[in-house]
């Protein structure tokens, strides 16, 4: 522009030479003219932008020139002398650091106790070196951030000191939409289980008492109600026989809920382990309630993302009897049953010594249910590590389940809802023998026994249940065998050449479904009344039909002499008509 201007000038003032200074001042003063909106001017702005560019010397600056220019402008609005800046804004991680710090301080030296350390009964944490575990996780392609892993380890140490725990294991992590759950699997001490069973029984008795009382009260009320209705209903009918008409009796609900299978005792079956969860390793651990069969049954029929809030209501169809706490516990039980595996031979049923066998049998009898399934196992002393070649064999014959299959009923041992009198069922628990609702004899549900090889697993919907990998193709000496479940995405098991193995679950707690989720259809609508002409809708008679009827019902011709009689007849006719309606 200035160039053009120069030319013009040349023409105008030819010969007199250019007044460069004057033109420069004019141009500068134009650039310095401040905007009447913001008060800025181009000259200062360009100076600042060029200054910034020259100071920072970024690459390809021309591509981002606008961005730079904008940033310089933005900078201008940040007051340089802000007297309100006395408020200190804490850095991003401050809150976490604050919570985490108490864990990181070394514990004060404990007072020398007179108790033998072995009697202290503190769970063994030696198998829970989380950082070692993390190393293996990383080789297997899964992981939890290192600091979190460390925090979990510290937190677990706290847990075993505060709770009566006999053994503890990191179970995994469940990712929710708002928060995640860290889950540890524990076994309580024997006496603790016994205590809980006692409490449960006491509670049960109380509940039964309360139930009976409630039922009696209920019956009384119901009888009273019916009486009232009858009295109310009878009176008007006596006065006027036709209107209102007799109503059919109130329909009775004929659906009887099938008996609910009792939950397994603490320390048995699906409740063999106790689970503690927390959202954050700095938070206290929360014990999950024992799982009930109905929770498992419903959890199988719904598909629900976890939110991270244990008290979240679960609104689904079929209705889930509980909050997210129960759902989480049920899913953990399902995942454990489906995916906890170990190399072949690591666990045995311990049939070597006679004593133990007897103990086992006793235990089984205690459990009731007449189960012949072995439910206990122990580490085999004569275990020889399975070679790597076998562990990574596609047939999966060298891996076995070590958690019991959960039957469709929601228990690991089958409970007969309609026990037959006498016969084999005598072994059943006492409480079941008290009341014997008559029912069909059911075929007991059976699942695969413990320590069944994975090769026996059913292939569901064309999805092979397991995939196996070797962690390294280059350094095979230290490679791990990694088994991942295709039915429960996120369930892994790794083994170091058969010596050490660990199951872990890192996923969202939902099962894989090839055909996606389909909710249960609603049950068919029950008939309120038996179908009959009283409740069926009829079409109104046409005029012709009415006429026909009228002719058919014409009064017989009588010599009508007495007005009274006629009247009476008419009344009769009316009555008849009404009857026929």
């Amino acid at each position: 522009m200035i160039f053009d201007y120069d030319d013009l000038k040349k023409d105008d003032e030819s010969g007199s030479g250019l007044d460069y200074d004057n033109e420069f001042t004019k141009a500068k003063s134009f650039l310095q003219k401040s905007s009447n909106l913001s008060g800025d001017n181009v000259y200062d702005h360009l100076t600042e932008v060029l200054n910034k560019i020259l100071a920072e010397r970024p690459e390809n600056v021309i591509d981002f020139f606008e961005e730079y220019s904008r940033k310089v402008k933005e900078q201008r609005f940040i007051p340089q002398t802000d007297h309100l800046e006395d408020i200190y804004v804490s850095p991003l991680r401050y809150e976490l650091a604050n919570k985490f710090m108490p864990f990181l301080k070394p514990a004060p030296p404990e007072e020398a106790s007179t108790v033998d350390p072995e009697d202290l009964d503190i769970a063994d944490m030696s198998a829970n070196n989380m950082l070692q575990l993390l190393y293996y996780f990383e080789q297997a392609g899964i992981g939890i951030p290192r600091d979190e892993m460390y925090a979990i380890m510290l937190s677990m140490r706290r847990l075993i000191k505060s709770e009566p725990i006999a053994s503890i294991r990191f179970w995994g992590k469940i990712y929710g939409t708002f928060k995640n759950y860290i889950v540890v699997e524990t076994e309580l001490r024997e006496d603790e289980y016994l205590k809980e069973i006692e409490e449960l029984e006491k509670q049960k008795q109380e509940e039964e008492m309360a139930l009976q009382a409630a039922m009696q009260a209920d019956d009384a009320v119901r009888l009273g109600d019916i009486g009232d209705i009858e009295v109310e209903a009878e009176e008007p009918i006596r006065k006027d026989k036709k209107v209102p008409r007799h109503l059919p009796p109130v329909p009775i609900i004929q659906f009887e809920e099938p008996p609910e299978p009792p939950s397994e005792f603490p320390g048995v079956g699906v409740n063999k382990k106790v689970y503690y969860v927390c959202n954050d390793p700095c938070h206290p651990w929360i014990r999950l309630p024992d799982v009930k069969p109905k929770h498992i049954v419903v959890a199988r029929q719904i598909y629900r993302a976890f939110t991270g809030n244990l008290d979240q209501e679960i609104i689904t169809y079929p209705e889930f009897p509980g909050t997210e706490k129960e759902l989480l516990r049920a899913q953990i039980a399902r995942i454990s049953a489906g995916t906890q595996i170990s190399p072949l031979g690591f666990y045995t049923f311990g049939g070597d010594e006679g004593e133990e066998e007897e103990e086992e049998e006793e235990e089984e009898e205690e459990e009731g249910g007449g189960a012949k399934i072995k439910t206990t196992y122990k580490e085999s002393k004569r275990y020889e590590p399975v070679p790597m070649r076998d562990l990574t064999d596609g047939s999966m014959a060298f891996w076995v389940h070590h958690t019991l299959y959960i039957l469709p009923q929601g228990r690991t041992t089958w409970w007969n809802p309609y026990p037959q009198a006498g016969g084999e069922e005598e072994e059943l628990g006492e409480e079941e023998e008290e009341e014997k609702p008559k029912g069909p004899k059911l075929e007991p549900e059976i699942g695969p026994p413990l320590l069944t090889p994975l090769s026996e697993d059913a292939t569901l919907e064309a999805v092979p249940p397991w995939s196996v990998r070797v962690s390294s193709r280059l350094i095979t000496d230290y490679a791990l065998a990694i088994v991942r479940s295709n039915l429960w995405p996120g369930a892994y098991c790794f083994s170091t050449q058969g010596k050490l193995f660990q199951n872990v679950y890192l996923g969202n707690g939902l099962k894989y479904m090839a055909y996606n989720f389909t909710p249960l259809p609603l049950p068919p609508i029950q008939a309120e009344y038996p179908l009959g002409p009283e409740i069926m809708e009829m079409s109104d008679p046409t005029g012709a039909q009415e006429e026909e009827w009228r002719i058919a019902h014409l009064p017989k011709e009588k010599p009508a002499k007495f007005g009274e009689e006629e009247q009476a007849e008419e009344e009769e006719e009316e009555e008849e008509e009404e009857d026929d309606d």
């Binding site: 970024p58 390809n60 591509d63 981002f64 606008e66 961005e67 991003l92 991680r93 401050y94 809150e95 976490l96 650091a97 985490f100 996780f137 990383e138 080789q139 392609g141 899964i142 992981g143 939890i144 951030p145 290192r146 600091d147 992590k173 990712y175 939409t177 708002f178 928060k179 995640n180 719904i302 598909y303 629900r304 993302a305 939110t307 979240q312 609104i315 919907e461 064309a462 999805v463 092979p464 995939s467 990998r469 962690s471 390294s472 193709r473 280059l474 350094i475 991942r484 295709n486 995405p489 890192l506 996923g507 969202n508 939902l510 894989y512 479904m513 090839a514 055909y515 989720f517 909710p519």
Partner: protein
């Protein structure tokens, strides 16, 4: 995820439970650099891993000039030998969601897909159940395409549209602020925008022609299909898509570090209406 982050996935993608193993990381770090050099890419990224029954697929992409339209995808089953991922075909895009088997890990495998009689997503009306065939390589390409369309995101201002229309990475991206990072509005779909340009521009008051040209994710249906976590005590924001379980996006608040990766089995979850609580 850029190459620098490949070696330290434990601090980023581990927030979703999955990482690259040390060996995979090292192999990818080197083989992708070679791939970049061969193709003269300006930048190369690791895209994710799709788990198969026998083998896993590793996906990577690079671009020469345009970071949005010029992305070229490669796949590999062993992290070392990379093959060009074919363009997703129209037929494949229709058949992929109907394929219910898992990926096997063999690109040449041909899967039979049974179409129901009343299948509506096919262009023609079917009079009888039909069997169609789909090669796993095409299926992989379509799956990657679908994930790119629906799940892959970038933070606002990370991509910059130059006046000549070419999309490049914004070198002056300083990272999101803490409050910004908690809003879905500040994350944009990394795909050719579907909304009109002025719709995307006018969703915010501090709009900028050069950076607000992509669709924001806050209008995705249903509400709640994105889960946003502020992890590691507030320095890392992690986004997950419920539609594509296994997709994770992370961004270190206040720094230009961001990335996304997909570790999953390549199956879209369409059960979201059952999974969320809407009341």
């Amino acid at each position: 995820m850029d190459l620098e982050s490949l070696l330290n996935t434990l601090e980023t993608t581990a927030h979703s439970g999955q990482v690259l193993t040390t060996e995979e990381g090292i192999v990818l770090y080197n083989s992708l650099l070679l791939l970049q050099n061969e193709n003269h890419f300006r930048n190369i990224y690791f895209w994710g891993r799709i788990c198969g029954v026998d083998k896993d697929y590793f996906i990577a992409y690079g671009y020469v000039k345009d970071a949005l339209l010029g992305r070229i995808f490669y796949y590999s089953t062993n992290c070392t030998d990379w093959g060009l991922l074919p363009q997703p075909s129209e037929k494949g895009k229709i058949l992929t969601p109907l394929c219910i088997t898992k990926f096997q890990g063999d690109p040449a495998l041909v899967t039979d897909i049974l179409l129901d009689k009343d299948e509506t997503s096919v262009e023609t009306v079917l009079n009888a159940p039909q069997v169609r065939q789909l090669k796993e390589e095409d299926r992989l390409a379509c799956t990657v395409h679908l994930i790119n369309e629906e799940a892959v995101i970038v933070p606002r201002a990370a991509l910059f549209k130059r006046p000549d229309g070419v999309v490049v990475e914004n070198l002056s991206f300083q990272g999101l602020e803490r409050l910004e990072a908690q809003e879905l509005k500040t994350y944009l779909h990394y795909r050719s925008p579907r909304n009109k340009w002025n719709i995307n521009l006018l969703t915010r008051s501090d709009y900028n022609y050069a950076i607000d040209f992509l669709d924001t994710i806050d209008t995705d249906i249903p509400d709640g299909c994105w889960s946003i976590h502020i992890s590691a005590g507030g320095i890392l924001t992690v986004l997950k898509s419920l539609y594509w379980p296994g997709f994770i996006f992370y961004h270190k608040i206040g720094t230009p570090k961001y990335g996304y990766v997909y570790f999953g089995n390549g199956k879209k979850c369409i059960d979201i209406p059952f999974m969320l609580t809407f009341f």
